[in-house]
């Protein structure tokens, strides 16, 4: 039994700025991190491994330097780490990305072991589309269970999974046959911290790289050519409200009074 976790290397968005001229992300010198939601998917896969003894494969599509992300997964305890990297994969939107990831999962299913579960973060923090997970499920014809905050039961032999989904203001409990694709939210678990010994081993490990020669996908379905989505503009929303008033440190009482005056002037303090 194999669990596949899809992870993505993303720029640390707290440190990202947008180039005002080109409308693109300024990525120079910005450190990369593992997409935070994906770390919870990874943790859940590793917990299932601890419980059921199944194997875990982590896959990631990205440039060669995304190897670091997969090494982090190895340090945490995944059995296989595969980087899907090829120039022809570049510029992909969520559709083209899900084509590549689905092909890799099919290959793992055929060559390594029967895939029972695919786990993804609910979305990435750079694109925020939340489409890639469901896209994979559609391509593979797996059941898709999104926004999972708890796996209630899992029966590999009976091929059944029951999960809780975190929706707005409520939870929904659903059951589905395996194989299934889950996207997970942060409430699912607390990710573990890597042991030093495993980090050292991961640092030495060679991450397997699959390019399109390996996957053999139609170039019209991958990369920029396979991406129907157009990004016309990226921008930081203008801050049209809010201001910093006074000096709360030097004069807390005066600043509070100033704030009250301002709020009253705008008729925002019902008296």
């Amino acid at each position: 039994m194999l669990i596949v976790v899809c992870i993505k290397q993303v720029p640390d968005t707290t440190q990202v700025q947008i180039d005002p001229v080109t409308n693109t992300l300024v990525r120079d010198g910005i450190p990369f991190i593992v997409n935070p939601y994906d770390t919870h998917a990874l943790e859940e896969a590793l917990r299932l491994k601890d419980r059921f003894g199944c194997r875990v494969a982590a896959i990631s599509m990205g440039p060669p330097n995304a190897e670091g992300t997969l090494k982090k997964a190895l340090a945490l305890g995944v059995d296989h780490a595969i980087l899907l990297s090829d120039r022809v994969f570049g510029g992909a939107d969520t559709l083209a990305t899900s084509n590549v990831l689905a092909a890799a999962i099919s290959k793992l299913h055929a060559e390594v072991d029967e895939v029972a579960l695919v786990l993804c973060g609910k979305q990435t923090i750079d694109g925020d589309t939340a489409q890639v997970g469901p896209g994979i499920a559609s391509r593979l014809d797996y059941r898709q269970l999104t926004l999972v905050d708890k796996i209630i039961s899992l029966d590999f032999a009976g091929k059944k999974i029951r999960v809780s989904r975190k929706l707005e203001g409520r939870h929904e409990v659903v059951e589905a046959p395996l194989p299934a694709m889950l996207t997970v939210v942060r409430e699912l678990n607390r990710p573990r911290y890597p042991k030093v010994q495993m980090r050292l081993e991961a640092a030495e490990a060679v991450v397997e790289v699959w390019n399109n020669k390996v996957l053999g996908l139609d170039e019209q379905k991958i990369g920029l050519k396979g991406s129907p989505t157009w990004v016309s503009k990226i921008f930081s929303p203008e801050r049209d409200k809010g201001e910093i008033i006074g000096d709360g440190y030097a004069d807390p009482a005066g600043t509070a009074a100033l704030l009250i005056d301002k709020l009253m002037a705008k008729d925002m303090l019902p008296l």
Binding site: T14, Q15, P31, Y193, E204, Y249
Partner: protein, 665 residues
């Protein structure tokens, strides 16, 4: 009336065998420890040993230590008497002190008599103290009373023995008893006095009884010694010799290669010196009486940690000697021989225990070694630390704030990037100084003071990284190692020679820890630099910082105890306010931690009284208007504590802010 030499010789041989066996058993366990070089600077070591072991410098630092000093020196003097006693027991009539030339005998006999009296008084006082007001409640052990009792029996027996011998000589010489005893009292005041009281007809019985009482007590003492905490008689002196000559404010580096072990989870992973420490502890309890965790009811007790290491070593020693695995865990639930995880995480690494220990046991590094095992090998630690570790590794600051925000504190100032060619000082602002909204004010004050003094200085800005103090004290050596290497490379690349810090944790890490990475910097704490600038007239005071009112100063552990900077911050406050700050009950090397060191800044404090509240209340006893600090962590702990006790009228100010008040306003 002389004892049977054959019986005595047999008993002596048995006792010596028990003694040797006990010593060998324990000392051979010490050799299980990992290698560590403590043989450098032999001359200095010898001197320190004379001062601290024979001079008992740290023992007498507490009033009751004088009692120990008396017992220790009496013991050394009485070694002469006991050697005579043993030799005399083996070869009766051959070896007697009295056969020495009279000029030598008289002072020797006098010294022995007085030493015995002093020892008897001292052990009585010690026993009474243990009964009435013990140093700590668990100190009333049978072991302690057995040892004190044995010493008392030895003294009483030796008085009786000497008295009966004097009386026998008196009878034999047919001298006038009055004048004989008067002369005898001049030589041996106590024994002489006692000699006059003895019933002469039973003299022989008394002599024999006293002799055997003395012999048996002495032999029992010899047998008991290496098998009890009293073994410190043998180990404490070498422990002072082998002490860490530099302050134990750092822990050794670890090598990160595959197959290595990280930290300590079994006793034989400690160094031999760590194991010697465990046999040198006589459980005086001074460490636990100054430990902020112990005092406020946390599960940590530094004395118990050392004791547990010893017990674990004794329990597992034979298995380990055979190359086997230990049967009982070193890190485990409460119980003798195991240190609990809760206690390991309670340490603030304030160093008070090491400062208090009369024989230089190094408690703190041992606790950090245990943390290393938990973090690095087991990835097991309080959950609050997960974010900290990830933030430190990912964004090189505890809060996980974007490194690009490091310069926000000086957005209104004209602060230049550091240039090694043209600038003297790197102002290493530190994470708190860069990101903590309260502490940014200290950075601003410091920047303005540096400019006012005409110092050429710069900052690393967005390139500045955390120094790694918290992760190192928390046992995450792997991440510290990465941070330290990056910083060392950065400092070398930028040509940094002189650094000023406003945080004692940055100060100590840059100054002491980075030396292990081959970086020798001239690191100065801002309190020292400000003091120097005022003293040499570079920084001119415009007025007295009257707004501060009555001040009290709190010593930061990493400035004071770990680096011996006590006077500079006080002198800065005195210069700025015109009056020396008030002192708390516990100050300078005896100061009480704010509770934030050792990574505790980032952890919850669920058990017992809060350490910062204890300290805040101690500060408030001085009725201050301003509590002065020289550390961002202390500042946070005091500000939080003052809010908790609703002392709104008391403010917390860093020494730089106090100085700024006098220089800039």
């Amino acid at each position: 009336m002389t004892p049977n030499p054959t019986v005595f010789a047999t008993l002596l041989l048995v006792s010596l065998a028990v003694f040797a066996w006990g010593c060998w058993k324990r000392l051979s366990l010490i050799s299980l420890g990992a290698p560590e070089n403590r043989f450098d600077n032999i001359g200095t070591r010898f001197g320190e040993m004379l001062l601290y072991a024979f001079g008992q410098k740290r023992v007498v630092a507490k009033p009751f230590g004088i009692n120990h000093f008396i017992i220790f020196w009496s013991f050394l003097i009485l070694m002469v008497a006991n050697t005579e006693f043993i030799l005399n027991g083996l070869l009766p009539h051959t070896i007697k002190l009295i056969r020495l030339p009279f000029e030598l005998y008289v002072p020797l006999a006098f010294m022995i008599d007085i030493a015995s009296l002093l020892a008897l008084i001292a052990v009585t006082v010690a026993a009474v103290r243990r009964l009435v007001a013990p140093p700590y409640p668990e100190a009333r052990t049978l072991e302690a009373f057995v040892i004190l009792g044995l010493i008392a029996v030895l003294m009483l027996a030796s008085f009786t023995l000497n008295a009966s011998e004097l009386a026998a000589i008196m009878l034999k010489s047919h001298a006038d008893p009055e004048s004989f005893l008067r002369a005898a009292r001049k030589i041996m005041p106590v024994a002489g006095l006692l000699a006059g009281q003895l019933p002469l007809p039973q003299l022989e019985v008394i002599h024999t009884a006293a002799w055997w009482a003395h012999a048996l007590a002495l032999l029992a003492f010899i047998c008991y010694l290496p098998n009890s905490k009293h073994m410190h008689i043998l180990t404490a002196i070498p422990n002072c010799f082998f002490r860490r000559l530099e302050k134990p404010n750092t822990v050794p580096r670890e090598e990160f290669s595959a197959g290595a072990t990280f930290g300590v989870d079994r006793v034989d992973h400690y160094s031999w010196k760590d194991l010697l420490d465990s046999f040198s502890c006589t459980e005086c309890g001074r460490c636990q009486n100054v430990c902020p965790a112990s005092i406020t009811g946390k599960p940590l007790n530094p004395r118990a940690v050392i004791h547990d290491i010893k017990i674990n070593l004794l329990e597992n020693g034979s298995a380990l000697k055979k190359g086997g695995a230990p049967g009982s865990p070193l890190i485990g639930e409460k119980g003798e021989g195991s240190v609990s995880e809760e206690s390991i995480w309670s340490c603030t690494t304030c160093g008070a225990c090491m400062e208090a220990c009369p024989v230089f046991i190094e408690q703190m590094p041992k606790i950090i070694q245990l943390r290393r095992h938990l973090v690095e090998t087991e990835a097991k630690f309080p959950e609050e630390l997960l974010n900290l570790f990830e933030n430190m590794e990912g964004r090189s600051n505890p809060w996980g704030i974007a490194p690009s925000e490091r310069t926000k504190w000086c957005s209104q100032l004209d602060v230049k990037p550091f240039d090694g060619e043209t600038m003297e000082y790197l102002f290493y602002v530190g994470c708190a100084g860069s990101f903590d909204s309260r502490n940014k004010h200290v950075s601003v004050a410091m920047a303005q003071l540096l400019d006012k003094a005409g110092i050429s200085w710069g900052i690393l800005g967005k390139d500045e990284k955390c120094c790694g103090d918290s992760v190192r004290r928390l046992g995450n050596e792997f991440v510290f190692d990465k941070i330290a290497k990056e910083n060392v490379a950065l400092f070398k690349e930028r040509g940094v020679k002189k650094v000023v810090t406003q945080c004692p944790h940055c100060f100590s890490t840059l100054k002491n820890d980075y030396r292990q990475y081959g970086l020798e910097l001239e690191v100065i704490h801002h309190s020292e630099l400000l003091r120097n600038l005022v003293q040499d007239g570079t920084l001119v005071l415009n007025k007295t910082a009257e707004g501060m009112g009555t001040t009290v100063f709190h010593d930061s552990c990493y400035l004071g105890r770990h680096n011996d900077v006590y006077d500079a911050p006080r002198e800065v406050i005195a210069a700025a306010t015109g009056a020396a700050p008030a002192e708390m009950e516990r100050s300078r090397n005896n100061a009480f931690c704010c509770g934030a060191g050792g990574g505790r800044m980032w952890m919850e404090e669920h058990v017992g009284e809060r350490i910062n509240l204890t300290r805040v209340n101690e500060a408030l006893e001085q009725k201050p208007d301003t509590i002065c600090v020289a550390c961002p962590y202390c500042m946070t702990m005091f500000e939080d504590g003052l809010k908790d006790v609703k002392a709104d009228n008391v403010q917390v100010r860093d020494v730089a802010e106090v100085m700024a008040e006098a220089v800039l306003r």
